[in-house]
Amino acid sequence: MTVKSGEFVAVTGPTGTGKTTLINLISGLDFPTKGSVEVFGKDLSKLTESERVSIRAKKIGIVFQKSHLLSRLSVIENVELPLIFSGSPEEDREEIAAEMLELIGLSKKKHLFPSSLSAGEIRKAAIARALATDPALLLLDEPTSDLDTSTIDILLPLLRGYNYLHNRTILLATNSLKLAKLASREIRLRWPELVVEAIQG
């Protein structure tokens, strides 16, 4: 399967078909037992660990299925994390993180710790964290699972705009038909054949 630069692709399929595994493979967090994964034209298995980390830090934003904010850091510090690892100038980090939280509607809670946020707010913070480095490739694993309808209504145009206006590539793993319709292409995973179908949106 191939995803072109600037595409917005939804990966759908029932639970256990490998949506999360696919995201892990693309982000270099996991390795294929067969075949190869090329990201930004580079075969990940042929890169050094340091090169893979560099690609992940600078070019890929990930929203994990379980959000995974660090409980010892405040919301804004969590959003600053990828900026530290991508090498963004120290003086700009807080400002960028604050802008991201403003964009996602969480600026009033930026100094709180994740333990005092609702599941939906944690998810929003995770999305802000993934967008902080302005990544060329945004990977989202079930991004709307903890969100209410009004937040989803904010998120959808944000993702569409990020893809369309900024020409960023988005790969979205979801079971939500509403979210999948937003993408320009849908790829369905099936188990056990692992057949991949491409449907033009």
Binding site: V53, A57, L73, I84, F85, E90
Partner: protein, 168 residues
Amino acid sequence: MNTADLLFRYIKELGVESSLGVVGAAASITICLVAASTRQIESNASAYQFAVSSMGFLIVATLLSLCMMSELLLKRQEIGILRALGAERRVVMAIFLSKSILIGTLGSIAGIALGCVFTFITHAIGQQYQSVELILRMLTVGSAGSIAAGLYVAIRASRINIAETIRG
């Protein structure tokens, strides 16, 4: 926030595991200092001192390895998240190595202080002696043990399976 701030957040937190590490290192250094202070085997003093120091190093390194491994088990998912967000292996290594050195140094200082007090109290009984050289040797033993333990756990921490930890 910068990398140093992030490291500090992890290092400053002295939980139960870290406290046990400090106590264990302190007890080991105290025993070694007292053992090394005796004058009873003066005919083969250097071999005796070497044996006591080696034993101290092994005990401190083993205790701190256990303590840091339990820290790693507790923080496994956090480490996975940091790595998934783009943290280099050396950032993860720095967290565990610096924490192990801190625990080892605190334990060594406490152990030396306790050892000095103990040998002073028992001076009349066992004809013991203290020297700056002996104290520095014990500090070196504690530090070397903590560096060895820290390096072992730091390398293991930097090589965790990221996908597995973030799924958990």
